[in-house]
């Protein structure tokens, strides 16, 4: 029998979105945050570059520009009501983080320092604008620490190292979750009026990725199996600059500080693809440019990588050519010392993993699977919406990378995710607490944990001839090569079939550990099941969208097709079959037009 706990609001996930939700919900409702890792291990801590907000601390900026840039960045697939809401809330959200104690870097006047980032522009000049508020190159780490600290200060309840395995739904409403306590293997039923999912993304379905091992799409998969749709799953962001082969991220902040991309012939190539903002174009544009350089034989040594160059002499040479100046109009001049100070972690990664010193050497990079754009559909209050009419499921909320509001549409702008988790984490927390105030607890079904037990049982009793590690690698390889940066019908069909085959073979997977205490083998197998479910939806959605938009680039349909495809896709699991549907994009201020940088 599972132990039963009761809370008004339960938050699944202790990253930035979950902590913000927990912090706000706990102000008025009995709340707990449950996380499969200690919250400080969450992937928010890996975010480097910054959080976007039109604070205008160094130069003129305003939320309306931020909104337009985000809409344009999204290739017009983002919902403009939600985007406007987010960019309007942004300055206050960042100031609130500072007030909570976040150690942002400072301007000489003592204000929060901001740096340029891809796709963020001064709408009048079209030039990059300093909008990314940052704490060196560990902004996410500082957000995670600060929010965790605030939760401690405000005595939020935590279940650390408990993994949620199932969502309990009664009468079409949220009623709680089932979780396993990793250190004992015991099951716990957490009875709640409101459940907020903030479980992060699923980048681990791809071979080369900057994502943590924990990014297995648990939340999305759990809800999907309960009949809740997933939105825009074809959109997954490939970040242009991952460390060659390892996928470890090199922040866009490097280019924000003046770094440039160089091909195998020693040429700077971005001006060809984005004449006005060059190396700071949107991520999808830069990833495709790198891929094109490689495909046309201009990779380094004929291999599939190019260089990122932050050596001061290179940076200053191109900055002079571009006419770049400091905010006060003085000549832009980067020194080795500034590189060390502004990008310490990047320097460290390159030295440790590559034996390369970026102050004197170029960094070998290739695009890396980075950010889950699609996910659990929500409105701008974090309420999960379960159909094409945006019908809300009572008591169920989602926020952060697992959710699709959608503010990122077809392509996310840098620094908009940390903003997303803070803004929508907060509102999901507030909404859930407000709901819990008047809602009643649904009666728990008998044996709420039985589905979990039979799932585990199935994993244990399979014939055991398949290996989790191998299946997982086969999935990652096919997803990276066939549902990657450039896509076409044949490859995606192949990926879809492959994933379906892997799902069948998964039934015969071997789990040798029969123990209860930290049975990570069993849980890794369960996570692979989630990844396969999610990968199938990604491949199917991608195959289905017959156009190119944002990060979804099809060789067989190279143009954006607003007539037929200016709409969100939704995929449901119904009686074991996948069903596809659509819902309209919310367009308020900005009509779609061609997207040039």
């Amino acid at each position: 029998m599972a132990k039963v706990h009761q809370f008004d609001v339960i938050v699944v996930g202790g990253g930035g979105a979950g902590l913000m939700a927990g912090l706000y919900a706990s102000k008025t409702a009995k709340t707990a945050v449950i996380s499969k890792m200690y919250p400080t291990r969450s992937h928010t801590g890996a975010a480097q570059g910054g959080i976007a907000a039109a604070l205008g601390n160094s130069e003129g900026d305003n939320p309306a520009w931020h909104m337009y840039d985000t809409v344009k960045g999204s290739d017009y697939l983002g919902d403009q009501d939600a985007i406007e809401f987010m960019t309007n809330e942004a300055p206050q959200a960042v100031i609130e983080l500072e007030n909570m104690g976040l150690p942002f870097d400072r301007t000489p006047e003592g204000r929060i320092s901001q740096r340029p980032f891809g796709g963020h522009t001064n709408n009048e000049t079209g030039k990059p604008v300093r909008r990314a508020a940052h704490a060196a190159d560990r902004t996410g780490h500082m957000i995670l620490q600060t929010l965790y600290q605030q939760c401690l200060k405000n005595k939020v309840n935590f279940f650390d190292e408990y993994q949620v395995l199932d969502f309990i739904m009664v009468n079409g409403k949220a009623a709680g979750v089932v979780a396993v306590e990793l250190s004992t293997g015991e099951l716990h039923t957490i009875h709640a009026k409101a459940v907020i999912f903030a479980t992060g993304g699923h980048g681990r379905i791809f071979e080369v990725t900057s994502n943590a091992y924990a990014y297995t799409g648990d939340g999305a998969a759990i809800l999907f199996r309960k009949g809740i749709p997933l939105e825009d799953m074809e959109f997954f962001q490939f970040h242009p600059t991952g460390i060659y082969k390892l996928g470890i991220l090199i922040t866009e902040g490097v280019r924000g500080e003046g770094g440039v991309l160089i091909n195998g012939k020693g040429e700077r190539f971005m001006p060809k693809y984005a004449p006005s903002i060059k190396d700071l174009a949107s991520r999808d544009v830069v990833s495709r440019a790198i891929y094109t350089e490689i495909k046309e034989g201009r990779g380094v040594d004929g291999k599939n990588y190019v260089y990122l160059d932050i050596r001061p002499e290179t940076v200053n040479k191109f900055a002079a050519e571009d006419g770049r100046t400091n905010p006060d109009g003085s000549k832009f001049n980067l020194t080795a010392e500034q590189v060390l100070k502004k990008l310490p972690d990047i320097i460290d990664f390159c030295r440790v993993y590559l034996g390369v010193d970026p102050v004197t050497q170029m960094m070998p990079i290739q695009p890396t699977a980075y950010y889950t754009i699609g996910g659990i559909p929500t409105n701008k209050f974090g309420e999960v919406v379960i159909d094409d009419k945006n019908t809300v499921m009572p008591g169920l909320y989602a926020a952060g990378e697992c959710a699709c509001v959608s503010v990122h549409g077809g392509n996310r702008l840098g620094c908009n995710s940390l903003l997303d988790i803070v803004v929508f984490g907060k509102h999901a927390g507030l909404k859930a607490a407000e709901y819990a105030k008047t809602a009643e607890f649904e009666k728990l079904p008998e044996n709420a944990e039985s589905a979990v037990l039979s799932g585990f049982e199935a994993l244990r009793i399979g014939s055991g001839k398949e290996n989790v590690f191998d299946l997982s690698n086969e999935m990652k390889n096919v997803m990276f090569s066939d549902v990657g940066i450039y896509r076409n019908e044949k490859d995606m069909q192949n990926a879809l079939e492959k994933v379906r085959e892997l799902k069948k073979r998964f039934k015969d997977v071997s789990v040798t550990d029969t123990g209860k205490i930290f049975n990570t083998e069993l849980l890794n197998a369960w996570e692979l099941g989630n990844m396969l479910d999610v990968a199938e939806v990604v491949a199917l959605s991608a195959l289905n969208r017959k156009e190119s938009r944002g990060g979804h680039s099809r060789e067989d349909y190279p143009e954006r097709d607003d007539k037929n495809w200016l709409k969100h896709s939704l995929v449901w699991s119904k009686n074991g079959k996948l069903e596809i549907g659509y819902k309209p994009v919310v367009i308020t201020k900005h009509q779609p037009k061609a997207r040039v940088y």
């Binding site: 291990r41 003592g110 590690f469």
Partner: protein
């Protein structure tokens, strides 16, 4: 190349005490020790248990003893340690299974430091950020880097000798707030650290600084905290 990897194994559901198991596998000089462990778990023995997440040294999950010293498995490469590799759990915290130790006492010490900004003064009237000069911000930059991996605390002989000692990581956290010009809780934290389980237990063995994967000069930070205690000044 062939790697010989000796790993401490302990399963409380089966074993009365731990033992070492040696695995021979193929690997590369550029593999992370974490890759090696993943390979063994994936292909040789699925029951091997360890924590990990980010795989690039920023989440603090996988501190362990590698050839006798504390490291993050994901930030240590085969080329750094050679083909004969011994992997053990960190010392001083209870082993729960294989390389996994009980982190609760570690986080409890963190929590004792009042690890949050204390400032009850009104916020700026203009609704904006509190101001802080770049110099004041730089004052505590080092200690903001901590990822709570416990490599320092579990390499400290004073901590091994007395598990009540708050340990270097907790003091680094205290340092992060004590020297933040926006914080007003320094006196309270210095008082906590002046108790018997506080800084007096630090005998500058220096192990912590050597173990820190974030290159935080921990001994120096502890020294600054001690100095503040004596002088009552925070510069």
């Amino acid at each position: 190349m062939e790697l010989t990897v000796k790993i401490f194994r302990y399963n409380p559901e089966k074993d009365t005490r731990g033992n070492y198991v040696t695995y021979k596998i193929e690997g590369n000089a550029n593999d992370r020790i974490l890759d090696v462990l993943e390979h063994i778990k994936g292909k040789v023995d699925g029951s091997l248990a360890f924590r990990r997440s980010c795989a690039h040294g920023v989440c603090g999950s996988d501190a362990m003893r590698i050839n006798g010293r504390n490291h993050l498995a994901c930030k240590t490469l085969v080329r750094d340690v050679g083909a004969n590799i011994t992997v053990e759990p960190v010392l001083g915290l209870k082993i729960q299974k294989d390389l996994i130790v009980d982190m609760d006492p570690f986080f409890d010490n963190y929590k004792k430091m009042l690890p949050y900004l204390i400032n009850d003064s009104p916020l700026p009237a203009d609704g904006r950020e509190r101001l802080q000069s770049p110099e004041d911000r730089a004052r505590f930059d080092e200690s903001t880097k901590c990822i709570l991996c416990a490599a320092c605390t579990t390499s400290c002989p004073s901590y091994w000798a007395n598990g009540e000692y708050y340990g270097p990581a907790a003091i680094v956290t205290a340092h992060r707030f004590i020297f933040d010009s926006r914080d007003e809780g320094a006196a309270e934290r210095l008082h906590i650290l002046s108790e018997t389980d506080g800084t007096v237990r630090c005998h500058t063995a220096y192990n912590c600084t050597e173990a820190c994967p974030r290159d935080i000069k921990i001994t120096k930070a502890i020294g600054e905290v001690k100095m503040a205690m004596v002088t009552g000044k925070l510069d």
